[in-house]
Amino acid sequence: MSQEAGPSREPSGEAAPHDGEMASLVRRHLAYHSAPERLVDHFYRLAEQERRENRWQARRFWQAGFAGALAASLTLAVGFFGIDRLLDSKDPYDLVAQEAKTTSRQADTFPVAVQDRIEAKHKARLDKLFTTFNKDFRYRQKVPLSGGQSEFVLEGATLREVDGKKIAHLIYRLGETRLHLNVIPAEDNTEWPGFLRHDGWVTMNEDSPRTFVWRKGAFIYAMVGDLPLERFREFSAAIAQR
């Protein structure tokens, strides 16, 4: 019901028709519902996650600037120390692993968005994405596993840019298990090739979420998901071969 026209006793003009007593009663006696803890926690976690990601990107920006400004010094220093040792963190693949973990957390936070991405209208975008990378990340990925063939279903994919570099984020599902694959082109990257210039496995984090990072050809791969270690390696190896 809509009451557009005010009643005859309603005050006219600019003064608000304020029933002070009733407003006061409402203010003092109306039940106020506090938000559930999980809802509050959820958004606090998101804020903290965003803060970490921004700090990480700022650090990368600073590192890139630092590397440019001190290029001459680095050239001299390479002979003595090697560029890796100057730019490296404790784990040289930490940045890529962190990127993969961040995107996987975001995808898990917004499952609706993942659902949206698998609608038919998004298929063209996925195809374009795969063409961009000249890589066959199939919609349905059958992988020969030790216990027989299993099928990983591609749930969705997004393409975003960090520091002007495209990063593909693909989400696969095996039964109830979700697996996140980040694919990052290594070439023309001012920072990552220094860290990731050799093919092969580099990081295999056993803690949850398990994170694998490696380089194969022109791409750096990072996988996040809670799978048994053996199955994880089989799937990631199959992906890398394509």
Partner: protein
């Protein structure tokens, strides 16, 4: 305002947004769902470019919009009209007298029942004005209606509450 600033700015309003949604839906799970859904969509769509002062109005706007969208899809049963178009039965505040002589627990119960039975528009206006302290202009923005309409709705909603409280007073054993 970037995503991080937006997230930090919305945190202090979470309880108010939930309470507002809960009063609209009258269901805790639905209220949680609405707040989660509305805020997540804003974050996903990147609509975070707001000036600091605008955020509170904006947050209540999207919460109410999400509720209305669900209401239109038939997710909830709309509350019936809270008072007749013909307002001849509504008495002016001074004619009804105060309620301050009622025991607080009874007043609280009756007031909550009365507000829950109001039409969604009236509930929103009362909550936004009396509980959240929004100005008429801000309420107009949240509800997408002219300021003059907000004034009339608020006045009529208060009178509707008065009438319902009077009915409770007369009909319920104390």
């Amino acid at each position: 305002m970037n995503r991080e600033a937006f997230l930090r700015a919305l945190l202090p309003h979470l309880h108010s947004l939930y309470s507002f949604a809960r009063w609209l839906t009258r269901d805790g799970d639905e209220a949680e769902d609405i707040v989660h859904d509305a805020l997540s969509r804003v974050l996903l769509n990147g609509n975070c470019n707001l000036a600091g002062g605008e955020i509170r109005t904006y947050l209540f706007t999207i919460i109410r919009r999400t509720y209305i969208n669900r209401l239109r899809r038939g997710r909830y049963e709309a509350t019936s009209a809270d008072y007749p178009e013909d307002d001849s039965s509504l008495a002016a505040p001074s004619e009804l007298g105060g309620f301050s002589d009622l025991p607080p627990e009874l007043l609280r119960r009756d007031l909550n029942e009365a507000l829950a039975s109001l039409h969604e528009d009236s509930r929103s206006v009362v909550l936004l004005a009396d509980v959240e302290g929004f100005s008429v202009e801000e309420i107009a923005q949240v509800m997408g209606i002219p300021a003059g309409t907000v004034k009339s709705k608020l006045w009529r909603a208060h009178q509707g509450l008065r009438k319902k409280l009077r009915v409770y007073q007369e009909s319920k054993p104390r």
